[in-house]
């Protein structure tokens, strides 16, 4: 039963990772930009929610989730139009340097504003509610909620990419920027919407994790790396692949923690990632071929 518990928890944790990873994947897919500030941008919404809850006088942070999503959507749009559009199509190197710089700025600005200490969002009873299956086996409501939301988000993104005008524009810009531009697509707007949608998606996971555990400005590094690992394990260009990648990573981490002790949780996750990179570099469900 212990093992079932570990694996189920790992799968649920994987849902969270995939929620972070689809944002990274979406940005890379539409503009070939590897956003090294992505991890810090998943931490930022928790602080946005903290500000809202604090300023509006003790309302439940669960209500802050949709508001934070709107704020992060707007922030993503402005960030892309104001800064990151200048680095798209200028090659990998500039993009990596600028987003790394952005990552340093966000992380240290959060430390400056909120200190490096861990903070939490108090949502009351739901934090500890769980579905008891047997005596030793219970599933927490919040992890389950994150997991189900991950499925909903990926399905919605899949439909959005496949069936809306903007989704078609995403794919067109991704395939051939110049041709898309010739067809009358405003690429700067499309990239900005892509970044906005990516941040909207990660703010769901960001805020719920802020409710479930504590958060600090230093979490960004790990979140970026886990999101990246989920993308590569799952295979680039496939949203469901990223979902699978997140689950593989989550299960690997928790099995590692169970077998070797909790200090080894992340290490085992990294090693599983390395093994998959060595033996199946294209990932499990790769759609795009990158040479």
């Amino acid at each position: 039963m212990d093992w079932v518990n570990t694996i189920v928890s790992g799968i649920l944790l994987g849902g969270l990772y995939s929620l972070f990873a689809v944002g990274l994947s979406l940005v890379f897919g539409t503009m070939r930009l590897v956003n090294l500030a992505h991890g810090d941008l998943t931490v930022l919404p928790a602080y946005v929610a903290l500000l809202m809850v604090g300023s509006a006088g003790r309302f439940n942070p669960l209500y802050a989730i949709p508001l934070t999503m709107v704020v992060m959507f707007g922030f993503g749009y402005l960030l892309q139009r104001g800064l990151l559009n200048r680095v798209v199509l200028k090659g990998d190197i500039i993009g990596v340097i600028v987003t790394f710089g952005l990552s340093m700025v966000i992380m240290n600005a959060l430390q400056q504003g909120f200190t490096a200490n861990s903070q939490g969002l108090d949502a009351g009873k739901i934090e500890n509610l769980s579905i008891t299956v047997t005596d030793q086996f219970a599933i927490g409501w919040l992890p389950l909620l994150i997991f189900l939301l991950a499925i909903v988000v990926i399905t919605a993104l899949q439909l959005y990419m496949g069936h809306t005008k903007m989704g078609r524009a995403f794919r067109a810009v991704s395939d051939d920027t110049d041709a898309a531009r010739l067809m009358g697509i405003n690429t700067k707007h499309v990239w900005a919407v892509a970044m906005a949608v990516a941040l909207l998606v990660v703010s769901i996971g960001g805020v719920i994790m802020g409710i479930r555990t504590t958060f600090s400005p230093l979490l960004g590094t790990d979140r970026l790396i886990f999101a990246f690992e989920a993308v590569i394990i799952g295979g680039m260009g496939s949203l469901w692949g990223t979902f699978v990648g997140g689950i593989v990573l989550g299960v690997a981490q928790l099995i590692g923690a169970k077998v070797f002790g909790s200090p080894f949780q992340h290490l085992v996750g990294h090693l599983v990632f390395i093994a998959i990179l060595a033996f199946r570099p294209q990932g499990f469900l790769a759609k795009t071929v990158t040479k």
Binding site: V96, F100, G101, F264, L267
Partner: protein, 360 residues
Amino acid sequence: MVTSADGQEYPVQVGGRTTKSIVMGVGAVALIVLFLFPLFGVTDWTRRLVEFFCYLAAAQMWNLLLGYAGLMSAGQQAYIGLGAYTVWFFADIVHINPLLCVLFAAITGAIIAFPAAALVFRLRGGYLAIGTWVIAEIFRLIFSSISQTGGGAGTTIGAAAQMAQTKGVDGWYSQVYWLALAVAVLTIAVCYLLLRSRTGLALKAIRDDDLSAESSGVNLWRTKLYTYIIAGAGCAMAGALIALYSLQVRPGSAFSINWTAYLIFITVIGGIGTIEGPFIGTVIFYALRETTSKYGTWYFIVLGLLAAVIAIWSRGGIYGWILKKTGFTLFPLQRRVGFGRSEKPPSPPASEGGGGAATV
């Protein structure tokens, strides 16, 4: 020698005679001054310079990766940390003279770089950067969990600390200083000679366009591998020196991502893809660190902002700007085809950024 379409042969020249004598003159004077420096007593400046040399060496290596092989590494701290722990291992466990351990650090760095390259080279661009970062994280987590090295709290390098005590402050730090100077000069010499060689030409071709370089017969994978191994060895030496200088090693700081932040800042500010750039960048980094690092987070915000702004608006960095204005090069690396008769004296150096002399 290149051959034109009509069969005529033109000499290809690397650098020019005038710049060579400038390099010799300035370099010799600077080296002698730096070499004699600790003889006037160990001061705060000696210590600052030791660190300066380490940052310079690591930045040269990082610049070699990014500016020439087009490899964006966010994980050179893996080698810096490994170098530091190699010193601990060979000095405290194998009981070898701690100063000699710098050599072992270089070997360790090179050996680890080989399989690491095989893994991360499967990724490209920005994903390669995160891949190298993961490798550094793996080493950080491994060394944090080894109890022999004190886990996350780290350990002092006992043999080195003992040696520092017997030799006294002056004796120890001047030796570390000379070693650091030697390593900095070595990394610059390696970069310089490598870039003037055939491999250097291949590297520049890769930097400009890796696909066309490959189709012109450059073995992409092997050339990048050599560069990555050299950079691994160089950064490990820098890490070993930091360990000797601070007499301790801690996984949190030895494998810290801040190293990448510093290296990015130094190289981008100074000028990517030049040997002079990281030199200028290190000087500026030092000036900034000595004045503003006490402000903690603000210091990092400024570093990040400056790196991002310069990367977007002034790709060449400060040295790129100098090159554009004056065409001055300390380390002539560009190849120029000498059109006209070979008896003619070589034209003054033309910069890649478009100096005056190349125009006809």
